[in-house]
């Protein structure tokens, strides 16, 4: 009887743990990209390859250089992290998950200066692209993707 009870408790625990984890752990990739038309100096990062065509159509640039990135695995959906380059940083504050999307507060800094503040519901099947300031003959582009 005791073994039966233990077995039942084990089955319930497994079932509830599977159910409780209805939102599996997912990783959000955040990248700071400089889009240019200059000759390529290094291969396009794999994270950008998926939306490279879209970025080309949107901005009219052919090359995309990654200057800063962060990859955060969300366990509770309440994490925050920073993707930074030498002069730019993107602070991401995840405020939970709603309707299969993460609610994120984003702040783009140029050194200590806050350039942009936005709140987005980042869907798992839809990247977010932000057009930042002009940098030299290129453009700062911020991309967030749920992987």
């Amino acid at each position: 009887m005791r073994s039966h009870l233990l077995l039942l408790v084990a089955i319930l625990s497994v079932a509830l743990s599977i159910g409780g984890a209805s939102l599996p752990e997912q990783t959000v990739w955040s990248g700071l990209i400089i889009a240019t038309n200059s000759p390529p100096t290094e291969p396009t990062p794999a994270e950008i390859t998926q939306i490279e065509g879209t970025l080309r159509k949107l901005f009219g640039y052919s090359q995309f250089q990654l200057i800063g990135e962060a990859r955060k695995t969300l366990k509770t959906g309440q994490e925050d992290w920073l993707a930074a380059s030498k002069y730019f940083s993107l602070h991401v504050d995840s405020r939970g998950e709603k309707a299969d999307a993460y609610v994120l507060n984003l702040k783009l800094f140029q050194e200590q200066k806050l350039l942009l503040e936005t709140k987005a519901r980042l869907s798992k099947a839809s990247p977010l692209v932000i057009r930042g300031p002009q940098v030299g003959d290129g453009q700062l582009v911020i991309v967030l993707v749920v992987q």
């Binding site: 519901r121 869907s123 977010l128 940098v135 700062l140």
Partner: protein
Amino acid sequence: MFMKTFEEKWTAWIDDQLTGRELEKFLASLPDRTAAEAEKQNAKQVGSLLREQAMALSNADFFSHQLRGRLDRENAPIRSEPDAIRTGWWTIRRLLWGGITSLAVFAICTVLVFREGTPPSQSQYLTQILGAQVDPTVSPNATITMFQKKDDHVTVLWVDGLQSLPPEYAAK
């Protein structure tokens, strides 16, 4: 005085009513005496059985009651008192286990239904921008546009008018 037929003599012989010379003459007339004796014994047994049944049927209710009681006693399983108690406890335990198992199955089904209801990672919803702002003192000419490229499943926050920066800001 009239002559008795063979059947009458046979019946009288079965009932041991024939005596004396009449008995001798009848026995002598039998073609197979051994078979006749055997038949007489059978007839006597049948007669006694019928008499017993007749007695019993005269008390039909009592007989039926007795018979039923005996059948009940004979058919009832032999069970000791502790066994009976244990059987009752087993029934309660089975009910308990049935209840727990049903709850477990219900919980598992509920979990599975909720999991089914939650769409997988390939959501059809596009990313939404809930709000955006720039610091007007830092970027007084900045404008913000939001749009979705549904073909590419991409949401774009297009900021114009931010201060342009020199190429060294492209450093890693």
